[in-house]
Amino acid sequence: MYKYDHIDQTLVDQRVIQFRDQVARRISGTLAEDEFKPLRLQNGLYLQRHAYMLRVAIPYGLLSAKQLRVLAGISEKYDRGYGHFTTRQNIQFNWVTLESTPEILAELAKVEMHAIQTSGNCIRNITSDAFAGVAEDEYVDTRPICELLRQWSTNHPEFAHLPRKFKFAINGAKEDRTVLLCHDVGVELKKNNSGELIANLYAGGGMGRTPILSSLIKQDLPWQFIPSYLTALLRVYNRFGRRDNIYKARIKILVKALGPEEFARQVEDEWGYIKNGDDNFTQHEWNRVAQHFTRPAYQSLPQLSDEQLIQCALEEDKKAYTRWLERNVKPHQVPGYSSVILSLKPHGTVAPGDATAAQMMAIADLADQYSFGELRVTHEQNLVLADVEQNQLFNLWRAAKRQFVALPNIGLLTDIIACPGGDFCSLANAKSLPIAKAVQEHFDNLDYLFDLGDISLNISGCINSCGHHHVGNIGVLGVDKDGEEWYQITLGGEQGSQAAIGKVIGPSFYAEQIPQVITSIVNTYVENRHEGESFIHSYRRIGLLPFKEAAYKNVTKKFQADIASTKESA
């Protein structure tokens, strides 16, 4: 894992001093709230429905056990004893005060952490594959480029006030676990025939109210040129992105308006003037950063088969343990090792992605004991121990069970991605957490969930789409109609290399109808599926209509009565 040098450490320490002064000016009243707002946002501080929320960066999702303990400590000392892991691999504290924020940032700086650019109209925390460096299907370990770009983008002066937020994702594996095409810029790393590291760049993707998959605008860019090319790209966006309408200010709108070819041409033109300058990364810089991402001290171990693994378990645990191996344990590059996903989605959870301080402390211990003291955060809001010896999996499973993070629901219907929604967020139109909870409680039967197999259910409390509903196989979007909370359903979204934006099935539903609607949708799949066919494949084969009919059929009576009464009262 990357270790700060004196430059990184000096920068975060001085950033704390700068923010401390800005907060003091805000409190004394010499800095107005309107003018303070972009400053606090660029340090991760939101004003939510009830309190300030601090979003702490976990760059490309990588975290040490020591850092997780500090996060746990912060949640106890300054918040209410829990943290919320987000879809952008960060962590949020929901109940901090403005006055305490500089102290929190100072504590974070001591363990090489910060909240820089986790919000605001700037280059945000960079996300990547949670399995970088260990995934069996990886072409290129993304972490050195992620770290180089973290440094390059931190406090970037020219791009401190972009038209709107700007999100990078970086992938280097065959499967895409980063939702690459839904980012403002997606960087796809691979090796060319000569073994040199190159990048394909995609631009103009995003969710929000105008979901668009990004377009390929640059192929085979040698890695050294990534910062100069991105400077050109961001300069075009900074100069010509719309600023008259917040909903049309993302780069996707500019790319769409110009067309990807014309946008790429403008970037290429700008890049022509700067590509031979010294913005580019040097080999020396690569070496300095990449030395931290060498392999840990793996043992020479035999690769164990599933049968051998299951034999390690006690007889009464075999069924449950087998399920966990099937869903939560992923293949590793090194024989005898696996990566393990700890589920932060227990059924009936308060919020998907939440972990209590006690859980964080215990999980930090597990990381120390089983995985070289490191963890990763997935964009699905779970945690990963990336380097677990296979012969320790059973012990880890038992320890994880005691912390309630061993539910074998990864990739299943209840592994719900959800934003904090109307319970916390002042932007939300509707609550998302009670919907997630209701669905988890309604489908609290592992046999049934396993039979259904891979289905993603993503819930956003408003069209800003923090819950990634557009790319859920089943998406739920909270909408506001005349002050009432309603929920729109989309189907057919997918993340990964087959990424797709879901389609709206029709009029919205009430919150209490959602478990029934999802049941109808799921039943339609079960009735129509071919042998071994997943939900999304059945959907693609039979189309939206059967799902739609089933969804409305069972709720129609109440629904129509409700619509009628709404019309009367309107």
């Binding site: 990184d8 000096t10 002064d21 109209n121 406090n155 970037h156 002066p157 791009f159 401190a160 100069r239």
Partner: protein, 188 residues
Amino acid sequence: MMSIENKTLLFPKGGVPNLVSNDWQIWSGENEQADMPTLTMNSTKVLLPFSMWLTYTDTQHLDSALMSDAKQGRVGVWFAPDDDILKHAQCIEAGKALWPVVAAHFPIFKDGRSFSTAALLRNRFNWQSQVRAIGDVLIDQLLQGARVGFDAFDLRSDQNLDIALRQFDLFSVATQNSWREKRTQLAA
């Protein structure tokens, strides 16, 4: 607190921040300033909107008084955020010999377009003389402005100059190149 009236904060490249009295008048080009100012009469120096310069130096409407004032070093221009300076490269190249000062305008502090204008002036045009930030220029944008290419700032009148002067040495390191210095990593 020092009075901000008619003060410009200068921060020359390689120099130290200091305050000087501002002898440039900014012509908005709107309403009562829609016509050309008469410079010779009152011996002021004026920053004109770049669009106005384009109009009055067009060969068909050449304002000879303006050119005469300009040749005496009494005229500069300011760029609005939506002025596409790359489309007027020739005019700007010619301006190097005419304008002692150019400025870029911030209609509101969080409009970052003028950061790219300053970066382009320095990098693309190799602009050597003063580039001034005008408009809604606040304390907390000074450091960013100074790094992209501004070396003079007309702060909004309510800003505290003592605090402003302290902004420039907040950071002793930087992790990307700027107009003033290369990233610290290259020196390491």
